[in-house]
């Protein structure tokens, strides 16, 4: 608290220095501006957590209703892909946190490198997600896909059935019906889809931060936006930390 007071007095004297351009007129000091932005970001993250919690409740209710279905359907997900994506996101969280450090220390080049690395990880995550989604759509597990080959569907397309998968269905006497499997995949697509949208929004925000950094806007006295985007990025990572075991690692 005392440091805040000192800083307030300090900044009041230097209001017209060259760093003050970023101070919005409705804030007294850069410090106050930073703290307000951070509180606002945290409040936004609170709404994000509550937003996603609805889907987690849906997951819980569905899984409690048909636990055996979730075990079976989870087998259609590629654990290796999910695990790689988890590590990719964790690495991007590292570079995001490192980006904040660089911004705080005024290391412009380091900030650029870390933002680019974060963006590359985000793109890699989406590519792997794309591969997974196309596989699921290919074998007819997309919500609204026809229940049987050739049947009419709300999407009006006929997925080509991968023979291996179809045999897998027919051979297993305990295999649930395809429309039952879609209970799981409805939840899967909603949860990972909403998460993927968040990753893409995050990519947009990082590109914005990259452009601003290339313009030389960030430094020890003004790095709030980088910090706030990183906080958002970490919450997206946390959501995935829960999605990975809940969707990919159901074995019993």
């Amino acid at each position: 608290m005392s440091s805040t007071a000192t800083e307030t007095a300090h900044d009041a004297h230097h209001f017209h220095d060259d760093q003050a351009w970023h101070l919005a007129h409705h804030f007294e000091t850069p410090h106050q501006q930073f703290d307000s932005g951070k509180l606002g970001t945290w409040l936004f993250l609170v709404t994000e957590v509550l937003f996603f919690s609805g889907l987690f409740v849906a997951y819980g209710v569905y899984r409690m209703t048909r636990p055996e279905l979730f075990t079976y359907a989870s087998g259609y997900l590629d654990t290796k892909m999910g695990a790689i994506n988890t590590v990719v996101l964790i690495f991007s969280s590292l570079t995001a946190a490192w980006a904040v450090r660089c911004a705080q220390l005024g290391n412009r080049k380091g900030l650029t490198i870390n933002i680019v690395l974060t963006l590359m990880c985000a793109a890699g995550f989406m590519v792997i997600k794309y591969l997974e989604y196309s596989h699921k759509i290919h074998i007819g597990l997309f919500p609204g896909a026809p229940a049987e080959p050739g049947q009419e569907s709300m999407w009006n397309f006929n997925p080509e059935w991968a023979p291996g998968e179809k045999v897998h269905f027919a051979d297993d006497p305990n295999a649930p019906a395809l429309h039952d499997l879609k209970n799981f995949f409805g939840v899967y697509f909603c949860m990972t889809g909403l998460h993927g949208i968040h990753v893409m929004v995050g990519m947009g925000l990082w590109i914005w931060m990259l452009i601003r950094n290339l313009k030389g806007q960030f430094g020890p006295k003004f790095y709030g936006p980088v910090d706030f985007v990183a906080l958002y990025w970490h919450i997206v990572d946390i959501i995935w930390i829960f999605l990975f075991p809940l969707l990919y690692l159901i074995r019993h």
């Binding site: 930073f34 945290w42 609805g54 987690f56 964790i90 690495f91 969280s93 220390l105 829960f242 074995r251």
Partner: protein
């Protein structure tokens, strides 16, 4: 570590994470990811969800505490975030309790209304 931290505090409005700390957090998270994949192959039976969620919660807390700087953040921000988690637990907990409580009724109703 602490003397080091307070030295860094002078750089801006908030705490600066040392590189060593960032890397340690990263490797801890990767290790826990491996642990959760391995744990899923073990015969934990009904408790697999418990094991998976305990590991996930630890990972999430690590991210929030260090990557998100909550350890050095204002109490108000911590309260805001903890508040959201509290309401998520209420939401999930009561929904699951309710689901468990009325499971048999739902099953009976479904059997009555089933079109056969």
């Amino acid at each position: 570590m602490h003397a080091h931290d307070s030295g860094h505090d002078q750089h801006g409005f908030s705490h600066v994470m040392p590189i060593k700390g960032l890397l340690a957090i990263f490797f801890a998270l990767v290790g826990l990811t491996v642990a959760t994949v391995v744990a899923a192959q073990l015969p934990t039976g009904r408790f697999d969800i418990v094991v998976a969620m305990v590991i996930a919660v630890i990972k999430a807390l690590i991210v929030a505490t260090w990557f998100m700087h909550l350890r050095h953040d204002k109490v108000l921000n911590i309260i805001a975030f903890a508040g959201s988690l509290f309401f998520v637990i209420l939401f999930l907990g009561f929904a699951m309790l309710d689901k468990g409580q009325y499971e048999s009724d739902l099953a009976r109703n479904a059997a009555i209304t089933a079109p056969r």
